[in-house]
């Protein structure tokens, strides 16, 4: 056949210019304030962990793609993003090989075994985290006290993450935890999750760039608040205030960065809303009844397993109307 003189393709003949690397690196850009907060409150050890997980995730992806003979797309930012997120969830005190193992397993088990980017049923970073949590539970639960780099004083009243104080000492002990500290992040905990402020800055960027639509984050936080409020309303002496619940622990990072991960979260609007509600509800339930202190990680993993079901709830297609006689 004669080669045509011109390029021939189907319409459309223009493209918006959006690409996977762009999407991933913009999400990483949104993570910068979170990473900064991690360094600010926990210093170089936190950065070291984040660096190890990021590098090992990219290395694992590149290795796997080389071994199975697929085009190597390890630089598209998706592995790096998962690695950075995983690093933000780990205690800065861990020995170097635990984060490295986490980065490897997150990408290999959480993503590549299912077929690569976007095919993973569960959040990649959380799969890595869960494997580490199950394997090295005792060291995973130990978090250092904060040590702000400048301006702020270290928070000497808190030795444990606030959410653990709630579990072990009850709501009365929360008197020591000020909301200002919770908001800025001057509390012990996983480095990426402590600062509500940093996550909100990054999350606002994600929403502004429409990388994440507002449905999942808003309904995640809202439903967590409402469920916590139900308990608080039953017995304020036994259960913490809902404001504390949404500001302490992983909820903010989970709502903006973990739950809306492409691939493992639903794509339709009703699906996303229900997904957010499920995440929030499960978080509060696990926090109150579960054997784990924090609930966000397993709530998101459980909600991920609902995604295929939620994706079946779809809006009515336009033009599907009964013919009017």
């Amino acid at each position: 056949m004669k080669r045509p003189d011109f390029y021939v393709s189907m319409s459309p003949h223009v493209h918006g210019g959006y690409s996977i690397p762009k999407m991933m690196y913009e999400t990483i850009l949104a993570l910068v304030p979170v990473i900064f907060a991690a360094w600010f409150f926990f210093g170089m050890p936190a950065l070291k962990v984040i660096f190890i997980t990021g590098a090992s995730a990219v290395a694992a992806e590149a290795l796997w793609q080389l071994v199975v003979g697929r085009p190597v797309r390890a630089w598209d930012g998706s592995a790096l993003l998962s690695g950075l997120l995983l690093g933000l969830l780990l205690s800065p005190d861990l020995p170097w090989w635990i984060p490295m193992l986490g980065g490897f397993t997150a990408v290999l088990v959480g993503k590549q075994l299912y077929g690569g980017l976007g095919q993973n049923p569960f959040n990649v970073a959380l799969v890595g985290w869960a494997i580490l949590r199950v394997s090295y539970g005792s060291s995973m639960g130990i978090f250092p006290m904060t040590d702000p780099q400048f301006m702020l004083e270290p928070n000497e009243f808190l030795e444990y993450p606030p959410i653990e104080i709630l579990r072990f000492d009850g709501p009365d002990a929360l008197m020591d935890v000020s909301y200002a500290d919770l908001f800025i992040g001057n509390v012990p905990g996983a480095p990426g999750t402590v600062s509500v402020l940093a996550v909100l800055v990054g999350g606002a960027y994600l929403l502004y760039r429409r990388i994440v639509t507002w449905h999942v984050p808003v309904f995640f936080i809202l439903s967590a608040w409402v469920f916590a409020f139900v308990y608080y309303n039953m017995d304020p002496d036994l259960y913490a205030h809902p404001n504390f619940h949404i500001m302490a622990g992983w909820i903010m990072l989970g709502a903006f960065f973990l739950a809306p991960e492409k691939g493992s979260s639903p794509v339709t609007v009703p699906g996303m809303i229900l997904f957010g509600v499920a995440c929030g509800a499960l978080t509060v339930i696990i926090r109150i009844y579960g054997s784990y202190v924090e609930g966000v990680h397993f709530a998101i993993l459980l909600a991920n397993s609902l995604t295929p079901l939620l994706d079946r709830i779809r809006p009515r297609v336009i033009g599907r109307v009964k013919e009017i006689a």
Partner: protein, 443 residues
């Protein structure tokens, strides 16, 4: 009803609105294919034809016949490229440069709807929007339809309640209709009574986008004709028929084969309206077409008036000083057009724009698997799940695709535009549709 869509960047220069009349070419190529069937030529090779003479008509007389766009001799009848890139036979006329016209006579102002309809049927108006029916059938009120169609479909027996005159361009980067509405408002107003008469419409609507400028005289004239202006969102697929009708009437056009008559509406764009006016007032069947030529590399946007059947090659030669090295030629605009393998294709009434791209503008579909990001789901104006549909079509799961309403897809191309994996969504959808249609024929 909210219309979903895209605001495509407005940074691109819109044409100044000046229309460059291109001299008639030496040779015109007139394809015999229409959206509804092929015409057969009524002239012989070597025969002398006059300008505006009817040279081909369909076996079904309701198909719009074809008129010579220059006077001269029929050089040959050969196979060529039709309006949508498909092969069809074409009549080639060599011009004698005299533009000797067939005698034409206008209708007087009090013409009855029957006379108007007869003119429409023989007038040979074709449009950029491939409607479900040729213009004459689509516009005709039920009692008139009965005259020209012995057993019309149910939709055509419905009275026309809403007549929508579409002043919006179909897609970004094209400004033909916008220009016409601004510059030729008085003629547009003159054409409306004919359309109202023949359709018997109770409500006449001029659809314009929210940012579109409408001359004061036009708005005043519309009020006198008891027509209203409906402003539609300035988003890309809002001007396509199903969405436009939904916006104006509040009723969804049943899909597939979206036929606005099923919800008692008919859409006529302003270009067609002016053709109707020419046909009625002067008796001239349309032989010219306005084409918006866009060459993004040099920022050229120019509306040209060309004779129907002029080859793109001749037009490019005419514009050459303003153009560069062309690597892709698209007839019909950036989102809905058809890329052409060469430039020896004719410009027809179905074409309202010609997009010429240099090498660096050509977007490539070197695609990756779907990553389920859901961008297409949020952008789809028909509220389909393009991500699923494209995967079904890619992996030959056509039954599932059909069950997920593949045929509701209007091929607007937004899903491909927003796709970060650069998947050729429209191609996959069309492939699926073709395969399903082939299976239906077999069974």
């Amino acid at each position: 009803m909210k219309v979903r869509g895209l605001r495509v960047s407005n940074s691109f220069p819109v044409s100044s609105g000046a229309v460059d009349a291109v001299p008639a070419p030496e040779r015109v190529v007139l394809p015999l294919a229409t959206h509804w069937g092929e015409l057969s030529p009524s002239v012989q090779v070597g025969e002398a034809v006059k300008w505006r003479q009817c040279i081909a008509r369909g076996e079904d007389l309701r198909l719009p016949p074809l008129h010579a766009s220059v006077s001269g001799t029929v050089e040959e009848i050969k196979s060529g490229t039709g309006p949508r890139g498909r092969e069809c036979s074409c009549v080639v006329i060599r011009s004698d440069n005299r533009d000797e016209s067939e005698e034409v006579q206008g209708l007087d102002e009090n013409a009855s709807p029957r006379e108007i309809l007869d003119r429409l049927v023989t007038g040979g108006i074709r449009e950029a929007d491939a409607g479900r029916w040729p213009l004459a059938l689509r516009l005709a009120s039920p009692d008139l339809v009965a005259r020209i169609h012995p057993s019309p479909r149910e939709a055509l027996t419905r009275p026309v309640e809403t007549l929508v005159v579409n002043a919006m361009d179909r897609q970004p980067w094209v400004s033909v209709r916008q220009t016409i509405t601004e510059k030729r408002a008085s003629e547009l107003l003159e054409s409306l009574p004919y359309l109202q008469k023949v359709s018997g419409a109770k409500r006449t609507v001029l659809a314009a986008s929210t940012r579109q400028f409408l001359p004061e005289a036009l708005e005043r004239g519309l009020r006198e004709l008891k027509a209203e202006v409906v402003r539609c969102p300035d988003k890309y697929p809002a001007a396509l028929e199903p969405l436009l009708v939904q916006r104006v009437t509040g009723r969804q056009v049943p899909q597939p084969l979206g036929d606005a008559r099923k919800v008692n509406a008919v859409v006529v764009d302003v270009t067609a309206a002016l053709r109707v006016l020419d046909l009625m007032k002067k008796g001239c069947p349309p032989t010219e077409t306005l084409v918006d030529v866009v060459f993004p590399e040099t920022g050229l946007t120019q509306i040209v008036r060309v004779r129907e059947g002029m080859l793109v090659e001749d037009l490019v030669n005419h514009l050459q000083p303003k153009l560069g090295n062309i690597r892709k030629a698209v007839l019909g605009g950036p989102f809905l057009g058809y890329a052409q393998p060469h430039l020896r294709v004719p410009l027809t009434m179905e074409t309202d724009s010609l997009l010429l791209q240099a090498a660096k503008e050509v977007s490539r579909y070197d695609y990756q698997p779907c990553i389920n990001c859901g961008n297409c789901v949020h952008a789809c104006p028909m509220r389909l799940l393009p991500n699923e549909l494209s995967k079904y079509c890619e992996f030959n799961a056509f039954e599932e695709a059909e069950r997920s309403h593949l045929f509701h897809c209007i091929e607007c191309g937004i899903c491909a535009y927003v796709c970060p994996s650069r998947r050729p969504m429209v191609q996959l959808m069309r492939f699926g549709k073709q395969e399903i249609e082939a299976m239906r024929v077999e069974s």
